[in-house]
């Protein structure tokens, strides 16, 4: 057996395999529902209703998608340049930490000055969390997969230490939790009475900006070229090392915005369970989006919808919400495989 590239795939080639992948994902989900003793179709109905079936559900999905858009963008930007950033989780916490340090009263500024400062300071913190790994890769040949992955645990322990120590809320009844942000440091809601904060809008705007940078600017051209053909980029005279460092700054900054938006927009304070793995799920989001910045928005909404819907379903149908994890894993695996088959066919020899 061997894979053969298809020069110009037709519409059946382009859309067939992804549809089959979606079908396979549904099939796995139904089998799981059957095993759990529920009616498969009803389970799916409840997942869909739970994700988008009501105003409340829809807003919940949008809220859940917000950090995933940021981390998805962070991963997409880095992976596009073949900088394997597995550390979005650490960068997220770096952003959250910075937001809490500066936003709990240290700066007595009005909101219009404080919010941009917090966002930029968060981005800086996140960028630093990645740029050292990129530098070590370029200078010392240290694999960034290892450094960024392991740094996640270092960061989580560091945050835990701060929450037990200097950042601990004295009024927190002993819980490891930071003080609450001052009112000026909170991202307002998009509309009065709408349970959706400006973090979501910021995420969508970021996706648009990243897309513009990648497709329209010389820096973006360099980022894509370094990823798609490093020897050719170097031969053409592109500043390869500078480009990889720029990618690291951008990627780390985007992931940190997830932390900023979660603390400033959603939670108001920092706890150790701020992120249920948004940094890692960002990898799934970016892969499903084929690393396209606008695709990241769609993929994040899909992933968030599955999570929110599965939560709602498990409350009513009694099927464990682990179904969501399995569904996403299946969706990712089958989709990656399916996308391979949109470009290659298998020949038996």
């Amino acid at each position: 057996m061997r894979l053969e590239a298809i020069a110009r795939p037709g519409p059946a080639r382009t859309f067939g395999p992804p549809l089959i992948a979606l079908g396979a994902t549904l099939g796995v989900g139904m089998a799981l529902a059957l095993i759990a003793g529920a009616a498969p179709l009803a389970v799916f109905g409840q997942i869909v209703t739970g994700a988008v079936g009501s105003r409340f559900a829809l807003l919940e999905t949008l809220n859940r998608a917000t950090p995933l858009i940021f981390t998805g963008l962070a991963v997409a930007v880095a992976f596009r340049a073949k900088l394997w950033n597995i550390g979005a989780e650490a960068q997220l916490y770096a952003g959250a930490l910075m937001t809490v340090v500066l936003g709990t009263g240290a700066l007595g500024w009005p909101a219009w000055a404080l919010l941009p400062t917090l966002a930029l300071a968060s981005m800086l913190a996140g960028a630093l969390c990645l740029v050292w790994a990129a530098w070590a890769k370029l200078r010392l040949g240290v694999d960034e997969v290892v450094t960024t992955l392991l740094f996640n645990f270092v960061m989580l322990l560091f945050v835990s230490m701060l929450l037990e120590g200097p950042l601990k809320d004295p009024m927190g009844m002993g819980w490891p939790k930071s003080e609450r942000l001052v009112a000026e440091a909170r991202l307002p809601r998009i509309a009065e009475g709408l349970r959706l904060h400006w973090g979501f809008a910021l995420a969508v705007i970021s996706a648009g900006l990243v897309w513009l940078v990648q497709s329209r600017t010389t820096w973006g051209f360099e980022m894509r070229a370094v990823g798609a053909g490093l020897p050719a980029a170097r031969f053409a005279g592109m500043p390869v090392n500078a480009t990889i460092l720029r990618v690291a700054l951008l990627s780390g900054g985007l992931a940190a915005l997830a932390g900023f938006s979660e603390v400033s927009g959603a939670k108001g304070s920092l706890t150790l369970d701020l992120s249920p793995g948004y940094g890692y799920t960002g990898i799934i989001v970016a892969m499903l989006a084929l690393l396209h910045p606008l695709g990241v928005v769609i993929a994040a909404l899909f992933v968030a919808g599955v999570f929110v819907g599965a939560d709602a379903m498990s409350r009513t149908a009694g099927v464990p919400s682990y179904v969501a994890d399995i569904l996403l894993a299946t969706a990712l695996l089958t989709m990656v495989l399916a996308l391979l088959f949109t470009r290659f066919r298998v020949r038996r020899e």
Binding site: E4, A7, R216, T218, G229, F235, G237, E349
Partner: protein, 516 residues
């Protein structure tokens, strides 16, 4: 077809191999269509055709790497099961690939005997060694059985490949472009081996696109074009022009170089050494060279002898470790690909797929890889894609690049069209210095002719050109002055009029006069 039998082959008329109606398709591409071929013991049949004519596919079917869509292969009258290399080997088919399949860390003997007997059987090493030594003597394949493959030259490795096939009792020996990596002298030794083999009743298939080589060695010549057999000739009854016509399907006029009128020195290397390990192959060792306006300087050599380092130097990818590189009258303060481009060096790299282009990028994106930061493509931090696209369209139009359009991914293009775009990019803006590293390797004759005539035209317009090639014929056809390169050292220059293949070949093998 009656071929004039030579020598004592009366007993060797038995048919050992027959291909019958072989057809193989890859998607919409037909690689072989209804190809039939017979081979008798004791003869050398050349399979001649351009790159992409289907030679290698056909041999891969014969050897069992691919299964044919239609047709069958018979060895000694027995049908070979399709798609099974093991069966082909057992039936007596031995293949020497273009890229060798030897284990570098093992010795010659280990490589030759690898897989021939179960590992748990004791003894046999002495017997195997005696057999290898016999074969080596009988066929003129001198090589030390205890040498590690990693320590052998390319020519010696090829001998090991042939030994391996003979050790496996091959009756049919297939050689895929065997002389591509050899010096003329090594090639002659190879043909001597092949003649000894046929004298002992072996049958040989020689895959080649070199006319003179085929004329000199084969008894019969089968010409493939677009996957079909377009002609079969006894060597005695044909000539190179006839074969070229069959191969291409039309008469071709080779670009003819007029005598050069060399001008001032535009680039000079003075005892330049490059850091070891910066590229594959040898580093440059005190290489001196000057490139003059209106002159093509050819670098002949067997691959891995420092060509990559020399090319990397001119491309800006490698800085001299010692010695000086002078552009015009001054040594550049710093050296990088960007500075090289800015200094007016047009560069055609060796590897068009990985270095010359980015496969998944469009033609437009590839066209501006070197110039995206300059006007009119850059406006501040932004790229003006409409200007870039218009530029790509100009290049496509002016150089007859066959492609779906400027927005198509460049990986969809054939090698020749890809190379035309690289050439167009390199020659845009009329650079004073041009580096052409293996510019036509693997291209069809149409593209070869076009690229070579563009290089000659650039020379006549006053450019200084450095042409690096492993194909001595190409060097001799285009260069005004020739250096050979061996182990990182450049020989003194020889004007083409005084260049002799013999002497060049010796120098390529390291036996020539040392560089001063």
């Amino acid at each position: 077809m009656t071929s004039p039998e030579t020598g004592a082959q009366a007993s060797a008329d038995a048919e050992v191999l027959r291909l019958d109606g072989i057809t193989k398709r890859f998607g919409e591409v037909t690689a072989n269509e209804d190809v039939s071929l017979t081979l008798r013991a004791g003869e050398i049949v050349a399979l001649l055709g351009e790159n992409g004519a289907g030679k290698t596919t056909l041999m891969n079917i014969l050897f069992g790497h691919y299964a044919a869509d239609a047709g069958e292969v018979r060895v000694m009258g027995r049908r070979l099961p399709p798609g099974q290399p093991r069966a082909a080997i057992e039936a007596g088919v031995g293949m020497v690939h273009q890229h060798f399949t030897l284990a570098d860390a093992l010795t010659v003997q280990e490589n030759v005997t690898l897989g021939t007997r179960p590992w748990w059987r004791p003894g046999g090493r002495a017997a195997a060694r005696a057999r290898i030594e016999d074969l080596a003597r009988d066929y003129g394949l001198q090589v030390d059985p205890d040498a590690a493959i990693a320590d052998l030259t390319v020519g010696q490795r090829q001998r090991v490949e042939i030994l391996k096939a003979l050790y496996g009792d091959a009756r049919v020996l297939i050689l895929d472009e065997p002389t591509a990596v050899l010096t003329p002298q090594e090639a002659r030794a190879l043909f001597d081996t092949l003649r000894r083999a046929t004298a002992r009743g072996l049958a040989v298939i020689l895959i080649s696109h070199k006319l003179h080589e085929v004329m000199a060695t084969a008894d019969r010549i089968v010409v493939l074009r677009h996957g079909r057999v377009v002609g079969e000739r006894a060597t005695a009854a044909t000539d190179p022009a006839d074969l070229a016509r069959l191969m291409v399907g039309a008469d071709i006029a080779e670009p003819k170089a007029m005598p050069a009128e060399p001008g001032e020195v535009l680039l000079r290397l003075d005892a330049v050494s490059t850091p070891p390990g910066a590229t594959q192959g040898a580093a440059l060792d005190r290489a001196s060279l000057d490139l003059r306006a209106g002159q093509i300087k050819g670098i002949a050599g067997v691959s891995g002898n420092g060509q990559s380092a020399l090319a990397g130097l001119l491309e800006g990818l490698i800085r001299p470790a010692s010695g000086t590189l002078t552009l015009g009258n001054a040594a550049p303060a710093d050296w990088s690909p960007r500075i090289a481009v800015a200094a007016g060096i047009g560069r055609i790299p060796e590897d068009r797929h990985h270095t010359g282009t980015i496969a998944d990028f469009t033609l437009t994106e590839n066209a501006i890889l070197e110039t995206y930061r300059d006007a009119p493509f850059a406006r501040g931090p932004l790229i003006d894609w409409s200007a870039a696209r218009a530029h790509a369209e100009d290049l496509i139009e002016a150089n007859d690049v066959r492609c779906p359009g400027p927005d198509a991914a460049i990986r969809l293009l054939s090698g020749g069209n890809m190379q035309k775009l690289i050439l167009a990019r390199a020659l845009h803006g009329a650079p004073r210095i041009i580096l052409a590293n293996q510019p036509v390797r693997g291209l069809d004759i149409g593209a070869v002719t076009y690229l070579q005539s563009r290089l000659l035209a650039a020379r006549d317009a006053g450019a200084a050109i450095l042409l690096i090639s492993e194909d001595l014929d190409e060097i001799l056809a285009l260069s005004d002055v020739i250096h050979t390169i061996h182990a990182g050292r450049l020989s003194p220059p020889v004007p083409r009029e005084r260049a002799e293949v013999e002497a060049l070949g010796l120098a390529m093998a390291g036996g020539g006069a040392d560089a001063a």
